[in-house]
């Protein structure tokens, strides 16, 4: 078949490793210069990579349980991105090592003098935190392993039984996915402000995750299409659907973000509003307004017309835009914990996203060398190619 094991060009690895090494050098320098600040930057990067990996795994499960066929030709892209999850086991180590810098509740001295933190101690303590992170990561990796194994076996064996067992796996995974994602969002980000809470926080991170996953899927699919690595039978309707879902989940993100704001604004309880005061004062106000524009207002208006979603160049640009916007979103969630008063941005912040993009490219390239870019044995593939709006 035309799309059997078509290796990506060596240029991809060179770019990937180039970014990865440049990022790594800058990261090491950032850690050497200001350990605490670099820790927060690292956490931002970690959550961004997790968004891509976990969101992509969510998309795979979503495709199976909804019986979608249009996304089947692109499922390998999501699968390759989801292979970030095993790597997360390595990447989480610096977060655990540097916990003392990130989370105030790890300091027994602080907890002792704080009634609220004492009350939260049974949940927010170092041991339980590490246990939760390990269990959640393990669950994801296990589901990733089985889902992808079935999908890849299908390439050679071509039997629908694998699709059936993957549907069952996805149905089990989806509720677990929501719960574990919420736990990790609360642990890794909300507990940076242990006195603040928002019950919609998990959904907020989930919405951002799906935006990131769809954007990455769109970006990579467009790039592969341009380089002729995907089948010629993939048409504009496929890309239109991706752009549409990117657009839809971006609105969903804005909806969730606004729901949180509206309720906390109305209730006006000091233990909820203080976080909004932090991000609405000094230079954080600029970041907040920028986030509204970059993550919602501009993509909303740009992605609305049909012509943008069927134009691959514009779609590619918007996918990159949304990935940057998601990084900004995480920066806005995490960095105020580093400095309540001013949004820091300097050369130290540059290395981390470079490293993250490098990791994604290198892993994608490695995966694409071994596996077909299109799931050739999937029974849904044919109807996926024939997809028309």
């Amino acid at each position: 078949m035309e799309f059997h094991n078509k290796a990506l060009p060596g240029k991809v690895s060179r770019i990937g490793f180039g970014l990865l090494i440049t990022g790594l050098i800058l990261m090491v320098a950032a850690f050497a210069l200001d350990y605490r600040r670099a820790m927060f930057d690292y956490l931002t990067m970690f959550m961004w990579l997790l968004s891509l990996g976990l969101g992509s795994l969510g998309l795979i499960a979503l495709e199976y349980i909804s019986g979608a066929t249009w996304s089947t030709p692109f499922r390998r892209v999501s699968e390759f991105l989801a292979s970030l999850l095993p790597v997360m086991f390595l990447l989480v180590i610096p977060v655990v090592v540097g916990m003392k810098e990130l989370f105030v509740w790890t300091d027994p001295q602080v907890v002792k003098s704080d009634a609220v933190l004492q009350g939260k101690e049974p949940y927010l303590n170092t041991t339980f935190f590490i246990a939760r992170a390990a269990i959640c990561l393990l669950i994801w990796v296990v589901f990733y392993f089985f889902l992808v194994r079935n999908s890849q076996k299908q390439d050679s064996e071509s039997i629908p039984q694998y699709t059936k067992s993957n549907i069952r796996l996805s149905a089990i995974f989806t509720p677990i996915f929501m719960v574990t994602l919420t736990i990790i969002a609360i642990d890794f980000m909300m507990s940076l402000f242990p006195h603040w809470y928002s019950t919609i926080y998990g959904v907020y991170y989930f919405s951002g995750t799906l935006v990131a996953a769809y954007s990455a899927l769109t970006l990579i699919s467009v790039l592969l299409k341009e380089g002729n690595y995907l089948s010629s039978r993939i048409n504009n309707d496929h890309f239109y659907s991706m752009g549409m879902l990117m657009f839809a989940f971006n609105i969903f993100w804005a909806y969730i973000a606004f729901s949180q704001l509206l309720l906390q604004w109305y209730a006006d309880i000091p233990e909820e509003t203080f976080w909004y005061i932090i991000i609405w004062e000094h230079s954080w106000k600029v970041v907040s307004i920028a986030l509204f524009l970059v993550h919602f207002a501009i993509p909303f208006l740009v992605l609305m017309p049909r012509s943008v979603k069927t134009n691959l160049k514009k779609l590619k640009f918007m996918a990159i835009w949304m990935l940057v916007a998601h990084y900004l979103d995480l920066y806005w969630l995490i960095m105020p914990a580093y400095d309540h008063h001013s949004a820091v941005f300097g050369w130290q912040e540059i290395g981390f996203p470079l490293f993250a993009v490098g990791v994604v490219i290198v892993i994608f390239k490695m995966k694409a060398r071994k596996t077909n870019i299109i799931p050739v044995g999937d029974p849904k593939l044919e109807s996926g190619f024939n997809f028309h709006l």
């Binding site: 606004f258 704001l261 509206l262 109305y266 006006d268 017309p305 012509s307 028309h388």
Partner: protein, 399 residues
Amino acid sequence: MIGKIKNKLKEVNNRNLEQKRSDELYAIGALFDTPDEIMDAAGKTTEAGYEEFDVNTPYPVHGMDQAMKLKNTMVGKTTFIFGFLGTTAALLMIGWMSGIDYQNIIGGKPFFAIPPAIPITFELTVLLGGLATAGLMLTLFNRLPWINNPLHDTNYIKQTASDKFGLVIYAKDKNFNIATVEGFLQSIGGKSIEKINFFEVREDRVRTPIFDFKFIALLAVVTVVTAVTAYGILRYVLFLPPFDFMWKQEKVLPQEKSTFFADGFSMRPPVEGTVSRGYIPYEYQGLPDSVVTLLANPLPINAEVLAKGKQRFDTYCSPCHGYYGEGDSRLRGQFPNPPSLHTDKVRQWADGNIYHVITNGQNVMSSYAKQISRDDRWAIVHYIRALQRALNAKDEDLN
């Protein structure tokens, strides 16, 4: 008589509804058998340079808009413009109402703020966008109330409504020529080629009936009559006797000053010594316990009374005294704990004493005379006695 009606009905049923057609040609239609054929035909028609043509299919055929080289419709832009109008209107409306016209302090919030205005803004955006899209679709695109397209009532449209795929080329096309078009349709594989003429009455040449004088006059009459009738009924008829009897009765309204009583109060207090129905005064009210030892329980001891006593006890007494009268209340800690009802003191009390405490209150416990009726209080006394007996059973109870 019935025969006549039957005949008339038959006549109506058999009447020829077919409209007369004029000699002027409207379009030429051809039928195709499969979606692929019609797709191909549409492509060829576009290539041949025809612009005024249309395709009728029994169900939507994917990719037809591309085959026909249709441009994007104005729907998206229309919806966007009207949606944006909705956004603006909502913000202006909320801004004017809560910011200027009717300022209210709610929870110390500013008179006008963006967050609470967002939901209504969203609603109005969707509402205006949606309504305008649907309304403009019906009037501009579907050109209602014109309902008689010349394609109606032709073999062509009947076939495409069931299982054939049709393509018509309109006579208004600039390359239109009967012979060439017929030849062309045949060459691309069209079957049952049909010439379709205009109806005798051409709707597109008649002014739309919306602006017809008779229609507007009828509308005006209906509007005026409805409004006047509704106004008349609500304003006058409802205030005619007998509908106004209740309204005009002699009565004292709240806060109304009396011109009859010297003190000016309209509401009179009851005459001194007035007793409500079924009320038996309690002459020991406020007296110490010792005076009431001789008061006897008027109720018999039977299952019904005890069940009543238990129900009342559980409702009114158990929150503090506990279900078994041991002073282990559900509200423990929030009030001073009441003493147990199983102390020697209470067990040796006369029934009258317990009744007196319930009626009169004691220490922190307030009077329950208002909440619990007299009989129920005596039933509770029986029940307390049963509880006491239960915790201090005698040998004979075991039999």
